[in-house]
Subunit: 316 residues, 2 copies
C-alpha cells in the first residue's frame, strides 16, 4: 500500500527533473461532453509519457549500492524509455526486455537514451519469467513497469499536480494498463479530495480490470490485441489491484475505433499528438458510457509517443 | 506606422479574450540547432492561429455605428475564421471572400463560426477588386488580413507576450505571408529589445519579401504555389512593408520539403500539430541558412489548422 506521503516524496524527487505538464482545456470539448474537462497532458512529459515519473522515482530511491548494479525492466515501450532515461540521469545503466512488435519509435528512443535491449515474442514467451532470469543473471535491480511502490507513487504525482492546479475536481478518468498510474492517482486523488469519483479506463479487448471487478478477484485474460499498445496487459497488477479495486467507482472500456476518433479530435481541435493508450481515458468521456454531465472532470492524456507513419496507418 | 503603445492597447483589448499561448522548449531541439529556442505556440490560440489577435483587435476597435454595419474580408482561411469568430464575439456579422481551393477544415470552421462566404478562383480572379466591390455593395466595413494598423498591432501582441515571458531574447524568427504578424512583432520586439535581430521567413516559392529587399522596393511575384497556404501572398503589404523592411535584418526562405520535415519533428518530438505556414519559421532555423548558434531565439509557430486527411497527404 502507498500513501499520499509517498506521492509527495516522489514529487520532491521529481522537482526540477520531470516537467510540470500543462492542463489543457477546450470550449469545444466541454460543449461536446457537457462537462468541464481538464486534460493533464503527459504527452508533454519528458520522453513523452507519464512513465518517466515512476521510473525516475524508483531509480532515484535506490541505495547507492543498488544503483551501481544497474537496472533491468520489461516494457512495451514507454516504461522502457523512462527507465533508460532515468538510469542515465541517475548515473547508472539500464537493460530492457522488450517485445519484438514494440513500435519502432519506442525502440529507437530507448536505444537513443543509451539502454541495451533483449527482445522477445509477447504472444508466445512469458515475459515475467524472462525478465526475472535476466535480472538474476545480470545482477541488476528489477524495476517492473507498475507493480512497485515507488513506481506507483511516482505516477501518482500526475494527479497531485492536476489537483494542485484544479482543486475543485469532481471526477477523474485515468488510462489503465497494469494499473500503476491509476493506483498512484487514486491514492493521491482520494486523499486530497475524499468525494472524488475515480474511474479506470482500458481497451475493450483488454478489459482485465473490468472483468476482475465483476469476478470479485484478480483474473487473467488472453493477451489483448488492441491498437493501445501501452495497455496490452493481461491482468491487473498484484500490488496495484488492491488499491485500484478499493478506490475506483468503476472500470470503463473503449473500442479501438473510439480511441482513433479521440486521437483525431485531439489532433484537429486541440493541436496535440496523443498515442492510442494515451487517448483512451478521454475516449470514455466521448463514448458516453458514463454520465458526468455538469461535473468538473480530470482526464489523463498519458503519452504521445507515436510516429507519423503509425499515425497515418491508424487514422487512414 | 504603428507603435509599441498600439500593441499594448491591443493587448488590453485581448485580455481575457485571446489565449495567452504557451512558450514551448525542447532539449532535443536546442541540441539540434545549437541555440536556445523558444516557440510561441499560436497553434493553441483561439480558432487555431495568431490571426485571432489582429482580427479581434480590429473589430473591437470599430465605432458602434461601424460595427453595426458588419464586417467583410478576404482570406485563404485563418483570417477568415478569425474575423468570423471576432464578429460573433463583438455582436456583429461577417462576410468572407474565400478562394475556392482553401482547405476544407478552414471553410467548415469559418461557416461554423456563423460567417457567410463568397468564393473565388485565386489563380484567375483579382481578390482585391472583388472584396472592395463586395464591401461597397454590402455596406460592410472591410478588415483586410494584414494591411490595417489594428490588425498589425493585434498580431504584435504575440511578440509582446513572448518577450514578457522570455525577456533576454537575442533573435526572433517570424512566419511571413503579407507581413502583418511580422510588422506587429517587429514593432513590439524592436521597441522592447533594441538589439533584437528580427527575421521574416517565407516559402521559397513565395519569396516576395526577399525579392523586394533585393530590389529595394515592394515587388509583386506570380501567385506562389506552395503547401504553406497561409503564405501564398504575391507581394508584401503596402502598410506592412515599410515597417518590416526597416526593422528586419533579413528575409529567409524555406522549401516545402523543409516545412514538412519540421512538421514531422514537431509532431514526433514535441507532440504538437502545426500547419505548413506555421512551421516555416522553425524550418528556417533547421535549414541552417542563418547562424544563430549560442543565441536565445524566439520563433513563431503561427497556426495549427490542418485536418488529419491533409496531414496524411503531406507527410506520406
Amino acid at each position: 500500500m502507498i500513501t499520499l506521503e509517498d506521492v509527495r516524496i516522489a514529487a520532491a524527487r521529481l522537482e526540477g527533473v520531470a516537467h510540470r505538464t500543462p492542463v489543457l482545456t477546450s470550449r469545444t470539448l466541454d460543449e461536446r461532453v457537457g462537462a468541464s474537462v481538464f486534460l493533464k497532458a503527459e504527452n508533454f512529459q519528458r520522453m513523452g509519457a507519464f512513465k518517466f515519473r515512476g521510473a525516475y522515482n524508483a531509480v532515484r530511491a535506490l541505495s547507492e549500492n543498488d544503483r551501481a548494479r544497474g537496472v533491468v525492466t520489461t516494457s512495451s515501450g514507454n516504461h522502457a524509455q523512462a527507465i533508460a532515461l532515468a538510469a542515465r540521469l541517475c548515473g547508472t545503466t539500464a537493460l530492457i526486455v522488450m517485445p519484438e512488435d514494440a513500435p519502432l519509435s519506442k525502440v529507437a528512443a530507448t536505444e537513443g537514451y543509451g539502454a541495451s535491449l533483449v527482445r522477445y515474442d509477447r504472444y508466445t514467451q512469458n515475459r515475467e519469467e524472462l525478465v526475472h532470469s535476466v535480472a538474476e543473471e545480470s545482477g541488476r535491480v528489477l524495476i517492473p513497469p507498475y507493480d512497485h511502490p515507488d513506481v506507483m507513487a511516482g505516477q501518482g504525482t500526475t494527479a497531485l499536480e492536476l489537483i494542485e492546479e484544479v482543486p475543485q475536481l469532481d471526477a477523474l478518468l485515468v488510462c489503465t494498463g497494469g494499473g500503476g498510474l491509476l493506483a498512484g492517482c487514486a491514492t493521491a486523488g482520494s486523499a486530497l479530495l475524499p468525494n472524488l469519483r475515480i474511474f479506470g479506463v482500458e481497451p475493450e479487448a483488454g478489459d482485465d480490470h473490468r472483468r476482475s471487478r465483476l469476478a470479485g478477484e484478480r483474473i487473467t485474460i488472453a493477451v489483448p490485441r488492441t491498437i493501445a499498445d501501452g495497455q496490452q496487459t493481461d491482468a491487473p497488477g498484484e500490488l496495484t489491484w488492491p488499491i485500484t479495486n478499493r478506490l475506483c467507482e468503476d472500470f470503463l472500456t473503449v473500442t479501438d475505433g473510439e480511441i482513433i476518433d479521440t486521437m483525431r479530435f485531439l489532433f484537429e481541435r486541440m493541436k496535440v499528438v496523443v498515442e492510442p493508450s494515451g487517448a483512451s481515458a478521454l475516449a470514455a468521456l466521448f463514448g458516453g458510457g458514463i454520465d458526468l454531465g455538469g461535473l468538473r472532470v480530470g482526464v489523463t492524456l498519458s503519452g504521445g509517443n507515436i510516429d507519423v507513419t503509425r499515425f497515418r496507418e491508424l487514422l487512414g
